[in-house]
Symmetry: C2
Subunit: 203 residues, 2 copies
């Protein structure tokens, strides 16, 4: 069908054709499996989109574990809300602060390894439907945690477990293994205009 | 300071310098105001990141209104969870389905105008700390709702109200007015590999 043919159709007919094409496409998608989902890039929304996925998963009755690999100072409000979903949702802040806050590489590596120990247990436990490894990419990028070890645990996970990994600088090997990768690109940021980090937006 | 100078410093000293620079940057960001936040682009995470922002805002005690301009068939699980936060959080699905589902432009325009009427009231009501206009961009892109009318209501909102607008194809005038714009870019998608839309991820 050419562009001209399409334009000569009524809105109803064009939309009916679109629906038929879409239904056909969706009918071919039948495989169900646990996904590896990566939110990366310099833009906002990597962690917040993961929290939104947690809400969806909770709505479907899944047990969800959130492990924060980089401890923020300001996430208390968010945790307070998420803790209402305990025990269906577990949330643990196991990392240290950003490297420029801790200024101690030994301490960072120790905290990362401890947090990863917990994450690995949850990933291998099929009672969890979704595991969120928040800011894990940062640790992989800085080699605070070895990429190979993470990939191995992901590959060995139960078949229906979804794992969501956030943070800038996702390593190429992880992107290669992932099923769904979204890059958040910053188009405009209020910091650039002198606006402060604000409750409910940045933390 | 040259690259070589930086490399010769200890990890501790480099991180201390980074922290000092960052603290200085953050100290200059003092203005507090309600933000217009846009999540656009072809990637995943536009709506889920908005849900995550809703959770943060709730944690800070804000009253939040979510208005869904395009009614999904499958968002019952998500709504079920979010309704636990009533009355602090209100969620209303006021739109029709996607245009290829309704196949009726008159009906789409009527539903859009009705939904926008509710949205406008909430935007002008300073009791709400955050208003999420989910998939509004789709309606603006398709001219189902006039952009000028939306921009006018946004400009006239109370000074501390945050408005989050999601959907592909955000119009240039909206991006121009927004404080924070993130484009979600699709790097990899499981549909392309024959994997079905799944509970907790796609809906």
């Amino acid at each position: 069908m050419t562009e001209t043919d399409s334009a000569s159709l009524s809105h109803h007919d064009r939309m009916a054709r679109k629906k038929a094409a879409r239904d056909k496409m969706m009918a071919g998608k039948t495989q169900e499996k646990g996904l590896i989902i990566v939110h990366t890039g310099p833009g906002k929304g990597k962690t917040t989109a993961a929290l939104g996925l947690a809400i969806r998963a909770l709505g479907h009755g899944m047990r969800v574990s959130i492990i924060q690999f980089v401890k923020g100072k300001r996430d208390t409000a968010e945790r307070h809300i998420l803790e209402r979903f305990a025990p269906q949702l577990e949330i643990q802040a196991l990392g240290e602060g950003f490297t420029w806050e801790t200024q101690d590489r030994e301490k960072d590596i120790l905290a990362a390894s401890r947090a990863w120990g917990v994450a690995k247990q949850h990933i291998s436990n099929s009672n969890y439907g979704m595991i969120i490894l928040d800011e894990l990419n940062i640790l992989l990028r800085d080699a605070t945690l070895p990429v190979a070890e993470v990939l191995e645990a992901l590959a060995a996970r139960p078949p229906m477990t979804h794992v969501v990994i956030t943070g800038r600088g996702a390593p190429a090997e992880l992107i290669e293994m992932a099923d769904l990768v979204t890059e958040m690109t910053l188009v405009k940021h209020p910091f650039k205009q002198g606006v402060a980090a604000q409750a409910g937006i940045e933390f």
